[in-house]
Symmetry: C2
Subunit: 327 residues, 2 copies
């Protein structure tokens, strides 16, 4: 029997996006259509509890969609943090409070289906080239900007891991020696400057320093602060927000340019909560990228159409990336 | 006849390091020993003149060493600028004033031996893994710091070129938005901050601003300025030199850390005129790298022995890299 026969018999996989706050899962067909999508809060009381809740969610979807296990080709899980996909182990995940968890074996045991795991950002990159607008692209950098900042590198259609399994961890590259402390211990890491929390914190600091409007007044007027609100305040003419947004775009543009010169990929695709939150984020970024590419011939291609894009898969890239893991 | 038979019959190749100011060439054996090494000023009156002078140099070495063409496996040429090794064309070289020169064909015609060409920094990286301390290393970044700054990327033992043939051109990554103009048109490019000319210029600017010693006085005391002299002045306690050296090490350390996180290679090897000019350059750099690696767990491996090194091949890496091109 040919591989394609097996594929045509079992076109459906389960994609599971395991996040620190919620788990999202769905059935995914060959074309990347989602079916029976469900989410639930992540139970991080213990690794056992998390695994139980993942397995329950999968079984619930199969049940509700009236699909038998035998009709499913396999399960893919995208997991934050360090992952060993070959051994199926979640090596370390701060958000899930995991250390050396045998995810693959435990999920297979609970659900009775073959399971594949991968770091969530790396999985997303594979989702983009399998189901997204980058179908068939051989070399691509997927840059995730959310609570964390990390890139996944695709070369010759495969994830490039590197010698210590940290290839793409540019969230911890120091891009401003006078920048704020990062969770990793460093100072001025990219993540400490352009992640969601970093954008809000930078805006708050600038607001506190400005004499026109106090932060308290601003928050009272604008309720809770999110990157989206900072970008909208910038658009509405708030100076502190304008400065914040400019700095974020500058540092991100420089990092993207560095990646483009280091790897020279076919394209660079952006995703992650901060990117999806408002189109202003990408607009502002591309404004700075355009300046960079006009200044130097070496970077001319950065502003070419489709060289830098936002994934069209949106938030579904988590589930679709996980689904793309299943062979 | 097996490939190894051919190799054992003709163990000698010619390596030619074509620079903007001088051409160096030698016979190179399988172990990387140089024989009959000669240099001459580069004749850049015309591409024809340059090619003639390269060919004459090769024939002169063969003649003096009393070796027949038939005993030579081939000629390798390392060339500055953009090179198309497949078609054997020097696409663009500012230093040589070359544009679309059919180097391979023209040298083969003049010397009567098979010829291979490559960008000089990429060739050097291949020289390092063929003849240097990185023998057998599969993933390596070779970073050249001289008049220009560029990296060559080796993945799976092969040069990674990228989509536009610019992979590794991080000399033109913007690392300081307030930095000086670069030749490429950009502002604050790495090359404009840490190349040989950049080090001297930065020192001169600081010296001009300081009130203690004028630049004129300093130059009168210290004769011509070179990066070496700036580093030695820093060691001797000169403040402007100290500041210059600190800034150079910081920017370079950040760039190396970015490369290390982006590619996660087995090792990073430094070469180029600035690196060879004084051991103080590497000493100062590693001091900052150590700080970076102590601050953040993500960068811990940067200060491990032999992760970042200076090539032991020294200036011969130009000729040896060219020699390593010959299959």
């Amino acid at each position: 029997m040919h591989r394609s026969d097996i594929g045509s018999q079992k076109p459906i996989v389960v994609g599971v996006d395991v996040g620190g706050t919620k788990i999202a899962a769905a059935l995914v067909d060959e074309e990347g259509h989602l079916r029976g999508c469900q989410t639930r809060p992540t139970n991080i009381l213990s690794p056992e509890a998390t695994l139980d809740s993942i397995a329950e969610l999968i079984l619930e979807i199969l049940n509700k969609e009236n699909i038998k296990s035998a009709e499913i080709r396999g399960i893919g899980l995208g997991i934050p943090g360090l992952v060993d996909p070959h051994r199926g182990i979640g090596i370390a995940s701060v958000n899930l409070r995991w250390e050396n968890v045998f995810v693959k074996d435990e999920i297979q045991k609970r659900v009775g289906l073959p399971c594949v795991i991968e770091n969530d950002v790396k999985a997303a990159a594979l989702g983009e080239i399998r189901y997204g607008k980058s179908k068939g692209v051989e070399s691509l950098i997927y840059l995730n900007i959310g609570t964390g900042v990390a890139a996944a590198i695709v070369l010759n259609g495969k994830i490039h891991r590197g010698q210590h399994n940290i290839a793409g961890e540019i969230g911890h590259a120091v891009v401003d020696i006078h920048g704020p402390r990062c969770q990793c211990g460093g100072r001025g890491c990219l993540e400490a400057l352009i992640s969601g929390p970093a954008i809000v914190r930078k805006f708050q600091e600038k607001k506190n320093r400005s004499r026109k409007t106090s932060l308290a007044e601003f928050v009272a007027e604008n309720h809770l602060l999110s990157p989206k609100e900072v970008y909208e305040a910038a658009s509405a003419g708030d100076n502190a927000a304008r400065e914040t947004v400019d700095e974020v775009s500058r540092f991100l543009a420089n990092a993207i340019q560095f990646l483009a010169l280091a790897y020279d990929p076919q394209r660079i695709v952006l995703g992650g909560g901060v990117v999806y939150s408002t189109p202003l984020f990408f607009e502002n970024l591309m404004h700075v990228i355009k300046q960079l590419s006009e200044e130097s011939w070496v970077s001319r291609h950065l502003s070419e159409p489709d060289f830098i894009t936002v994934t069209q898969l949106g938030k579904d890239i988590g589930i679709l990336g996980a689904a793309a893991l299943v062979p």
